[in-house]
């Protein structure tokens, strides 16, 4: 075994990529801060029960486990930061009103979430707690759109859905949990032939509605079509009203709809959304409302938010144009030190030359050098390397 080989789906970030990730992380977190979101940093490891509370089977399979040698209990490496932030809001902050929190950190996935995914995503997200109204959903979706723009993702689209519609239909259909799972899989992949097979014995009204669901995607006209083909159950009408309201509040953003997108259906409770963009074959960001997750930590709170993998996002945006460094000669002469300090204070990257490395400084990132001309230190282009 070669010692430098990394496990599958695990990678380094070399200087160019690391710089890009850090640049994006700073700009996005700054953006969140200016929108009132406070940064929190939950731990990488926690007791397994806390990590998996209120989450679905997916998260259980994704979480790497190890035994805590201090307590003998099972710990997990977080696979998702959202439940940790929900725990912080529910239990530690205990604020009465609204709490806006954001975070950025590494998570580990025991199995990669897609063929193109990493097992160590850099998860960045924002969550809004304490407000059940549609204003909160609109705010986080707008924040996501702003983040994508700040990052510089070219064409993008934010797809809205609502898990309330499927929940209401599944309840009316009175499906066994096992069948509900299969139904969920078929809807998720818009597998109409599979759906038809599953629903042979379902009552006619629900059958037609569930078969229509995978075709209800596209522009805002989807909502009008949905009102025609879906039954007028109060939960469904309320969900469609919510989406309509969101569409008008988010006018100007590249919004579309997909009423069969049920990702995170096991813990989501209302409006859900997914952002697509660039060349990525999968969604760049996922989010939605999850009002009941905090209950497991002692305080159920309205909650909505989104998260994304910064590595995936970084792959979809142009490289930042980094200015080259300035090479300065070694030696502690006062005038030189003062010049270097002034340049650094102005945001320049100044690298001190060490003896015996001629011809290697351009590779190290230098494109200019400090030269003494007529008693004054001047910045000149780096020649002859």
């Amino acid at each position: 075994m070669l010692r430098w080989v990394l496990p599958e789906y695990i990678q380094d970030a070399l200087p160019a990529e690391a710089a890009k990730l850090e640049d994006l992380r700073r700009r996005l977190l700054d953006d969140f801060r200016l929108n009132g979101y406070q940064l929190v940093a939950p731990p990488l490891l926690e007791y397994l029960e806390s990590l998996l509370t209120g989450a679905g089977q997916d998260l259980q399979l994704k979480t790497l486990k190890l035994v805590d040698q201090l307590s003998g209990r099972l710990m997990g490496v977080r696979a998702d930061i959202t439940p940790q932030v929900a725990r912080i809001d529910a239990h530690l902050l205990n604020r009465k009103g609204v709490a806006r929190l954001c975070y950025c950190g590494s998570v580990a996935h025991a199995v990669p979430s897609s063929l193109t995914a990493t097992r160590e995503p850099l998860q960045l997200g924002a969550e809004l707690y304490g407000h059940a109204g549609i204003e909160a959903d609109a705010e986080v979706i707008r924040l996501l759109a702003e983040a994508l723009q700040t990052a510089g993702v070219g064409t993008s689209r934010i797809d809205l859905g609502h898990v309330g519609i499927f929940k209401a239909l599944a309840q009316t259909a009175g499906l066994l949990p096992q069948k509900e799972e299969a139904l969920f899989d078929c809807l998720q992949s818009k597998d109409l032939p599979g759906l038809r097979e599953l629903l042979v014995e379902a009552p006619e009204g629900v059958r037609a509605a569930l078969l229509a669901l995978p075709t209800l995607y596209g522009g805002v006209d989807v909502l009008a079509r949905a009102r025609e083909v879906l039954p007028r159950q109060p939960e469904i009408v309320a969900a469609l009203d919510d989406l309509q309201e969101l569409a008008s509040r988010l006018a100007g953003l590249p919004i579309s709809f997909d009423l069969a997108d049920l990702r995170g259906y096991h813990y989501h409770s209302g409006v859900v959304f997914a952002a697509y963009g660039g060349n990525s074959p999968v969604a760049l960001a996922l989010g939605g409302r999850y009002d009941s997750v905090g209950r497991a930590f002692g305080r159920g709170r309205p909650a909505t938010g989104f998260s994304l993998d910064l590595r995936e996002l970084a792959a979809q945006v142009p490289d930042p144009v980094a200015a080259g460094a300035i090479l300065a000669p070694a030696g502690g002469e006062a005038g030189l030190s003062a010049t270097i300090a002034a340049l650094r204070a102005g945001g320049e990257n100044v690298m001190i030359e060490l003896p015996g490395h001629e011809g290697t400084w351009r590779e190290a990132g230098c494109d200019r050098r400090l030269v003494l001309r007529g008693g004054a230190w001047q910045v000149e282009p780096l020649q002859g390397e």
């Binding site: 063929l115 818009k190 032939p193 579309s256 060349n279 990525s280």
Partner: protein, 217 residues
């Protein structure tokens, strides 16, 4: 990656390509080359924004999942083995039809071999589908993965039975095998990359609808 302002459709040579031609025609798409005679792997069409890529049948879902093709046409058998994660499969195209079956030598007592709790040795290319089928029956199964000439396995004592696609049954007959159990009917599906459907809906949706309208019931 995909062509930025157009769509790429992944197809396999042979039966799937032949039977897809009428569907493509319904969508107003005519390939400029025939993959049976041309060695090109990327084939243009009469529409500058639509191109075809010729892949091996089992690779179609992979190309679409990675977004290397926006859409593809793949047999249900291939999708079952692939798992279909991350793909939309909205349309049964009703082409390249056949059945996934269990077959065994004429003198093999299959009914006795698959009593609940029994153990059977099965050779197949479709290990996932076979595993699921026998698990549902409550039969232990030792699976032997083969890539072709499945019919040989029971004849030379490699396996008790095989799980394979059957369309006419000619090969089974020629090798003294009989179909002992039907697992499921197979036909080809249209698969679509999820992000492509969202970002290129204006291009993909009309093709999808044209295909849907042209499918033989």
């Amino acid at each position: 990656m995909t062509i930025l302002n157009g769509i790429t459709l992944a197809l396999s040579k042979g039966r799937i390509f032949e039977e897809t031609l009428p569907l493509l025609a319904a969508a107003g798409i005519t390939p400029t080359d025939n993959p049976e005679t041309s060695r090109k792997l990327i084939i243009g069409t009469n529409r500058p924004d639509v191109r075809l890529v010729i892949v091996r049948a089992t690779d179609t879902p992979t190309y679409v999942q990675y977004g290397a093709a926006d859409m593809g046409i793949a047999g249900k058998d291939v999708l079952l083995e692939h798992g279909g994660a991350g793909l939309y499969q909205p349309l049964d195209l009703n082409i390249a039809k056949c059945r996934l079956c269990v077959a065994a030598p004429k003198d093999f007592d299959y009914a006795a071999a698959v009593k609940r709790g029994a153990r059977i040795r099965v050779a197949t290319k479709y290990v996932n589908a076979a595993r699921e089928h026998f698990a549902a029956k409550g039969v232990h199964v030792d699976l032997i993965k083969l890539y072709g000439s499945m019919e040989l396995a029971p004849l030379v004592g490699l396996a008790d039975a095989i799980v394979d696609l059957v369309s006419t049954g000619g090969t089974l007959k020629a090798n003294n095998l009989v179909e002992v159990e039907d697992i499921m009917p197979i036909s080809s599906r249209l698969v679509v990359n999820q992000a492509s459907l969202k970002l290129k809906r204006e291009l993909i949706q009309p093709v999808l609808e044209a295909f849907a309208g042209a499918v033989k019931k």
